[in-house]
């Protein structure tokens, strides 16, 4: 099918450029790794009192960092697109008969693959530090992360093509990401907070996703926590790809 072929051409082009500059993959994973190594030990004496079903600091922390990686890493994917747009690459691609959606999907494939590699590194390090988790649960957790990451990457690409300016995009991402980070229970569970804070965090979809990945790492597959988190991930993915495709298909972009 032409669409798959075209997406593949775009994907291979992107991956080729990424492999030529693998530093970015490593820079992207620096932040969660630092949290793991420098913040993880602080959780050790506390995690037992969290009432999240685990007394292992890393089993608690790695799922949160994984989702954080999915959101942050992917949100910066759009910056590369602005560079490409400025050099005329996007326009050159849009003047070919290739599907405009394929131009986006090929790039999303790159973002998801990159996220997958980073996730494996993070989880591997987690195991080394003493994290415990069943292989199946960890894989499900990574899968949910990839879905969320794909959604964020699509949104990031759409934002990039709409703003066409790093100077606009960076503050927008910051404004969006700070409350997401603070209200999702990535570093500490929301359940230890006062009631008003928990109420606010109830409105944060990413919180359910963090809970779901955490639950899945702990092996609680069948629970409604995992179900709702996965459902939210799917909803966000649908919204993200819808926005992304709409932006790429727009006649005047």
């Amino acid at each position: 099918m032409a669409f798959v072929g075209e997406s593949n051409i775009v994907f291979r082009r992107q991956i080729r450029m990424n492999l030529r500059n693998p530093a970015w993959v490593l820079i992207g994973i620096m932040q969660p790794v630092l949290y793991l190594v420098l913040f993880g030990p602080l959780l050790k004496p506390l995690v037992g009192s969290f009432d999240t079903g685990t007394d292992n600091a890393y089993t608690f922390l790695v799922p949160g960092l994984l989702v954080q990686l999915g959101m942050f890493g992917a949100f910066f994917a759009g910056f590369g697109l602005i560079g490409e747009w400025r050099e005329g690459v996007i326009e050159a691609e849009r003047v070919t008969p290739a599907s405009r959606t394929a131009l986006l999907v090929g790039r999303l494939m790159r973002d998801v693959i990159q996220l997958f590699v980073q996730a494996l590194i993070l989880v591997g390090l987690g195991y080394l530090m003493g994290m415990r988790g069943s292989v199946g649960g960890v894989l499900l957790g990574i899968f949910i992360t990839l879905v969320v990451g794909g959604a964020c990457a699509a949104a990031s690409n759409a934002l990039a093509l709409t703003t066409k300016s790093e100077d606009v995009m960076a503050p927008v991402i910051n404004i969006v990401m700070m409350p997401v980070l603070l209200l999702s229970g990535i570093l500490l569970p929301m359940t230890i907070g006062p009631e008003w804070l928990q109420k606010i965090s109830d409105f944060m979809p990413f919180r359910y996703i963090v809970d779901a990945v955490r639950g899945s790492f702990a092996g609680d597959f069948g629970t409604s926590t995992v179900f709702w988190g996965a459902a939210w991930a799917a909803v966000l993915a649908a919204l993200g790809t819808w926005w992304g495709t709409a932006t790429f298909r727009k006649e005047n972009a």
């Binding site: 005329g88 690459v89 003047v95 008969p97």
Partner: protein
């Protein structure tokens, strides 16, 4: 090859009280025959790029219709894209990717098999004197090489109609002359129809069979360079007399054989039909009247004169005016998005 009727592109600029609608392209009609090389000339901001973007399906016309290579740009954009090559002003390759890879991927997006794209790409590299640069990154290329790489990108799928948007802007004279040769060979060895925008008069003069002049979103002329120049009444004769008291006499004598005579210090200028024939007798005439000349110049009409005749402004003034009032620079795509 191209038929456009009443093409219009409007966009909105400013907010609140400053908000206004700008008609970047204001009812453009165009006809380009197969095999023609047409130069689309106008000052910056006249609507050249906007028109081009509508013809290449990158921008949906606000009003009007256009058929390009036999297909409607709004209803059959994919077929249009398949048939045309587009060399944009801003470039087409990523600075940090290998030139050859970019070309091959581009060809594959046109549905070419990898092998064909490689073969065709290498052939074009040779033809455009880019041999040996297949594994070079655009950031390490000269301006001229990069432009030629953009031309390769535009030609990879062997289009029969090629759009070039200000192909030589920013190039040094040598690189320009070199690129001109390649553009010329597009038709001679390739049989392609070429539509190129430029704000360089000499470029339009050197390359195009026919020149279409656009100003403030409207076509103001469309003809061969020679016919356009013939519209300007005669050659410019520019005299510089030796002393101020001879200016009046010189102006009177020049006025007897020509028109639009004006003086500027010790200089006297006027338009004269067939200057080659009448200037010798003018010189004798001036000599016998005791006028001593410091210099004399006879200039054939240029396209700048044509533009001045058509619009009342010189191209250079038109550009300067545009630059000073250009918050809503219509050539910029952000504004239109």
């Amino acid at each position: 090859m191209i038929t456009a009727r009443g093409l219009v592109q409007t966009f909105h600029t400013g907010r609140g009280k400053a908000a206004k609608e700008v008609r970047a392209v204001d009812g453009v009609d165009l006809d380009v025959a197969e095999g023609e090389v047409v130069g689309f000339l106008g000052p910056n901001g006249a609507g050249k790029t906007t028109t081009l973007r509508m013809l290449t399906t990158l921008l949906r016309p606000t009003a009007g219709t256009a058929t390009v290579a036999g297909y409607d740009v709004v209803k059959e954009p994919v077929q249009v894209r398949r048939s045309i090559g587009y060399v944009s002003q801003v470039g087409s390759t990523f600075s940090g990717a290998y030139a050859g890879d970019e070309v091959v991927d581009h060809g594959m997006l046109y549905g070419m098999a990898r092998g064909d794209a490689v073969r065709r790409g290498q052939e074009l590299f040779e033809r455009l004197q880019l041999d040996g640069l297949w594994k070079r990154m655009p950031k390490n290329m000269s301006g001229g090489q990069k432009r030629r790489l953009d031309v390769v990108m535009g030609l990879i799928h062997d289009p029969t109609l090629v759009f070039l948007d200000e192909p030589t802007t920013g190039l040094d004279p040598q690189a320009r002359a070199n690129l001109w040769e390649h553009i010329e060979s597009l038709r001679t060895s390739h049989g392609a129809t070429v539509f190129l925008t430029t704000h360089y008069l000499d470029e339009a003069d050197a390359l195009a069979d026919r020149i279409v002049i656009i100003d403030q979103g409207r076509i103001v002329a469309s003809d061969t360079a020679d016919n356009l120049k013939a519209q300007v009444a005669g050659d410019l004769v520019d005299l510089e007399v030796a002393s101020d008291d001879q200016v009046a006499v010189a102006a009177q004598r020049l006025g007897a054989i020509g028109q639009a005579v004006e003086t500027d210090g010790r200089r006297v200028r006027g338009r004269v039909e067939r200057a080659g024939r009448v200037v010798p007798s003018l010189l004798r005439d001036l000599g016998s009247a005791g006028v001593v000349l410091d210099s004399i110049e006879v200039l054939r009409p240029t396209l700048d004169d044509v533009f001045l005749t058509l619009t009342g402004r010189s191209l250079r003034d038109a550009e300067a005016g545009e630059a000073s009032s250009s918050e809503g620079e219509p050539e910029q795509k952000e504004e239109v998005a």
